[in-house]
């Protein structure tokens, strides 16, 4: 069965995000008042083969921990859906 995983990788709160800070400054310069806490992360989308949702989730967890994120500085989250939906 084909699944689609949408993985988001974000810097941990304690880690400085200079890209987020630069984007925030730029948004403020464009006149968007009241914008704060801008954080820039990564979005990774992939299809995978798995018998059921549980197996698909376990594989996405594993790849997120080993490669897609660096647990020292980043957190990850994901959504899983049946591919083609």
């Amino acid at each position: 069965m084909q699944w689609k995983a949408k993985v988001e990788v974000t810097l941990k709160k304690a880690v400085l995000d200079p890209q987020g800070a630069a984007v925030e400054k730029s948004l403020q310069a464009l006149g968007y008042d009241g914008v704060s806490q801008v954080r820039v992360g990564k979005y990774i989308e992939l299809n995978l083969e798995a018998d059921d949702r549980k197996e698909a989730a376990a594989r996405v967890e594993d790849m997120s921990r080993r490669l897609l994120s660096n647990p020292v500085i980043e957190d990850y989250s994901y959504v899983l859906q049946e591919a083609g939906l």
């Binding site: 880690v15 490669l67 660096n70």
Partner: protein
């Protein structure tokens, strides 16, 4: 005494490291391709600078799963000397062979300039020829060099004397101005708990000849050579 220089796709300081060891230090050196499953008989493995796999995802994130990295881990585990320079440092942190992580420079700029670093641990095979507090001038060239370690890890690094190099001014004072990338506590290089794996962002291999503006990088290689001289334990992994 045998040096090995790993060549990943996108390494570019492999040539500099090879040149320094062969032509300046007059020691035996060979390239080791990233697809190799063994590192062979070596005393020192250098992970060079560059932009492995285009720095996609994170610097070093993909290179650390190269076939050769299992052999490097095994070599390190047996006490072999491993030196990670710039991107090589990033690969070693990604691989978990060194603590912490290298993040985007805090000013978002790529920095290519001469810096000063201070030797804060001179009891390692990589630094034993330097006096404690010795200030070395070397170039940096990176966009992702901001060293980060969570608070509890930082305490551990201090307790175990794992902070090897700090960015300082030329007098050896740790100042914000001397920090080229926003590294935590001006950390420029660290070692593993056992002290046989060291990584640093500056390039000692590009500071080994007068024509390059500084010869201070030699002290790291000369330390390695004096450490190994007389105790040539050739490891075979």
């Amino acid at each position: 005494m045998k040096f090995g220089v790993i060549v990943f796709p996108g390494s570019n300081c492999d040539l500099d490291s090879y040149h320094l060891v062969r032509d300046v230090l007059k020691k035996e050196v060979e390239y080791i391709h990233y697809t190799e499953k063994r590192v062979g008989r070596r005393d020192v493995i250098i992970l060079p600078g560059g932009f492995t796999y285009g720095d996609y995802l994170r610097s070093g994130a993909i290179a650390r799963f190269s076939p050769v990295m299992n052999a490097v881990a095994e070599f390190a585990d047996k006490g072999g000397l491993v030196l990670g320079i710039c991107n090589g440092f990033q690969v070693l942190t990604e691989a978990g062979l060194l603590p912490g992580a290298l993040c985007r420079n805090h000013h978002l700029q790529f920095r290519c300039e001469q810096v000063f670093v201070r030797v804060d641990n001179n009891s390692l095979p990589f630094t034993l020829s330097a006096s404690l507090g010795k200030v070395l001038e070397m170039p940096v060239a990176h966009g992702d060099g901001s060293y980060y370690a969570p608070p509890e890890l930082l305490e551990e690094l201090k307790a175990n004397d794992q902070i090897v190099f700090r960015y300082t001014d030329q007098n050896g004072d740790v100042t914000p101005q001397a920090n080229p990338n926003g590294s935590l506590e001006n950390i420029a290089g660290v070692c593993n708990r056992a002290g046989n794996v060291v990584g640093l962002m500056p390039h000692p291999e590009r500071a080994g000849e007068k024509v390059l503006g500084s010869r201070h990088g030699l002290i790291i290689f000369k330390s390695i050579i004096s450490y190994l001289t007389g105790r040539e334990v050739v490891r075979n992994v």
